[in-house]
């Protein structure tokens, strides 16, 4: 759609063909790009289909619409679309009971389906203690609707998520990370919109991990820790309410992804034998940072032995085809690898060199895209084993999780190496007092 708008801007008429299920998405994209009149023909050609009969039937059924879109003179509205009106949303949006507030927000599409904490003036004021930045400070405009990411809007969404004020610096940094990411990740656009249901995965490094109790140990990805639960949730609400990403309109994930509720971990720096993730990006160990990638799948695996060969082969065996890979090893496993001389860099190298697949797997990915007439590979060429991962930088290694043998491979997408994926977390002047106030808010289980 973006190419279509760009071509129309060069005064060339375009007709865009799209599956009927993507009509709303196409309309949103064309409006967002300032050209609501783009002629989109919704067809029944099935998404991603390789069945020629279905494709031809879809085009046959849509043919008159395609010809009309190609030839019918444009209307006055298409030539000069009416300007949309500036929004003037009320700051205080509703008054009601807890249930009424929740129903009001839910009906507006402002929640993730779980109950929210009412963002009252008092709650937002308390949240804002997590930053020295003024509430009206604009950090940027978040894709897709270019909503203004002000500190106050970030704080409101953080309150709704149930976050504590000590998490606000992390959530602000996470928002900056999204704002400054390359196209495709800015505001989580491509990966938020894709049919692939990619979920943002946030890794927190540095001293803040312990100050705000982000779990890096047992069950780090399970429910039960406010920081892990609400930082990711707040980021999801920010994408929704500031970026304007709507499920089934912009977010066209086919299956969806439970990791979109929250996917946050701290690296277990204390027990790791290696340098923490953020130092790979030239940050100091004493800095606190948040990084983001966009996995699609969460795959746990159980190395058959504690030696490096068993661990590494388990990692390699459990990597399906994708674009970026995060390997999360527990501390004991990390120490076993380190004992045999493996650094994070050596692990990345090993995985990239040893994850081999038949060339047919990779050719299959581009097979449908080759130009008509291009030479098809021979069976011999297709059977040749080739590396799946062409660059070790597409692999990240972090240490997390509790005692035990299980490890995790996160499979999905992420920034182009060298492009934005990590942001330093800035703390307010009164940080120590704020930490004191909230630091002891931890679950104390009954003994039985």
């Amino acid at each position: 759609m973006y190419d279509a708008v760009s071509i129309e801007d060069r005064q060339k008429p375009v007709v865009m063909l799209a599956n009927f299920g993507f009509a709303n998405d196409a309309e949103s994209a064309s409006r967002g790009k300032g050209m609501p009149g783009i002629r989109v023909v919704a067809t029944k050609v099935p998404c991603e289909s390789t069945v020629i009969e279905d494709i031809e039937a879809g085009i046959e059924e849509a043919w008159n619409d395609i010809v009309n879109a190609l030839t019918k003179p444009i209307t006055a509205e298409e030539q000069n679309p009416k300007a949309n009106q500036p929004e003037t949303p009320a700051r205080i949006i509703f008054k009601g009971t807890l249930a009424e507030v929740n129903q009001f927000y839910y009906r507006r599409g402002w929640t993730d389906g779980l109950p929210i904490i009412p963002p009252t003036e008092a709650a937002v004021a308390e949240m804002l203690k997590g930053t020295d930045l003024p509430p009206d400070q604009l950090l940027g405009k978040l894709q897709s609707r270019l909503g203004k990411a002000t500190i106050e809007k970030i704080a409101i969404n953080a309150v709704m998520a149930g976050a504590l004020p000590t998490y606000l610096p992390v959530i602000i940094a996470g928002t900056i990370n999204l704002l400054e990411s390359e196209q495709g990740f800015n505001g989580y656009t491509t990966y938020g919109f894709s049919t692939g249901s990619w979920a943002p995965f946030w890794v927190i490094n540095g001293p803040i991990r312990n100050q705000i109790n982000v779990n890096s140990g047992s069950g780090a990805f399970s429910p039960g820790n406010i920081a892990n639960a609400t930082i990711g949730r707040a980021m999801g609400l920010i994408v929704k309410n500031i970026g304007g990403v709507r499920k089934g309109v912009e977010d066209m994930g086919v299956m969806g992804n439970p990791m979109k509720y929250t996917m946050v971990i701290a690296e277990n720096e204390e027990e790791s034998p290696w340098e923490p993730l953020h130092t790979e990006f030239s940050y100091k160990k004493e800095d606190s940072t948040i990084s983001v990638s966009f996995p699609q799948s969460y795959l746990q695996h159980y190395p058959p032995g504690s030696d490096a060969a068993s661990i590494l082969n388990s990692i390699v065996d459990n990597i399906p085809r994708s674009m970026r890979y995060t390997v999360i090893v527990n501390a004991a496993t990390a120490k076993n690898l380190a004992r045999e001389g493996y650094t994070k860099e050596k692990i990345k190298q090993y995985v990239a060199e040893n994850k081999l697949v038949p060339a047919a797997q990779l050719l299959g990915q581009i097979g449908a895209q080759v130009k008509p007439g291009d030479k098809k590979p021979s069976l011999e060429e297709a059977a040749k084993m080739v590396p799946l991962i062409r660059d070790p930088r597409f692999v990240r290694v972090i240490v997390g999780g509790g005692p035990g043998a299980f490890c995790v491979n996160l499979i999905g997408g992420g920034a182009t190496p060298g492009k934005k994926e990590i942001q330093k977390i800035e703390l307010p002047k009164d940080w120590d007092n704020l930490v004191k106030k909230y630091k002891n808010l931890v679950p104390v289980y009954a003994k039985y």
Partner: protein
């Protein structure tokens, strides 16, 4: 009868303001495609090439005097403006009168 002790909350809007997007119109159509140069812009979706092939076959039948050329944007999730082949794309665009693009999704 118990007293109603339920709290009322006056709440702030999480929905961000956005500046209105300035809208632009689309280009006039070119009329009868016969005699025109029609460009088929094929994106990275695997359904795109066969879809445009089906379009091409019908165009050839219905508008035998139209010329047809293809351009492949095979890089997923990137517009042609972002790619090293931008120059090649611009050249192709100069040579066509109207474009049919596929496929979303």
């Amino acid at each position: 009868m118990s007293a109603n002790t339920e709290n009322f909350y006056e709440v702030l809007s999480p929905w961000a303001e956005a500046d209105p997007v300035a809208y632009r119109g689309i280009s006039p159509r070119v009329g009868d495609p016969n005699g025109k140069a029609i460009g088929l812009l094929c994106n990275s979706k695997r359904v795109a090439p066969p879809t445009l092939k089906a379009v091409e076959s019908r165009l050839k039948k219905q508008y035998p005097k139209a010329s047809i050329s293809w351009f492949y944007n095979t890089v997923p999730n990137e517009t042609m403006d972002q790619q090293p082949r931008k120059g090649e794309f611009e050249e192709w665009l100069k040579g066509v009168d109207v474009i049919i693009a596929a496929y979303g999704d």
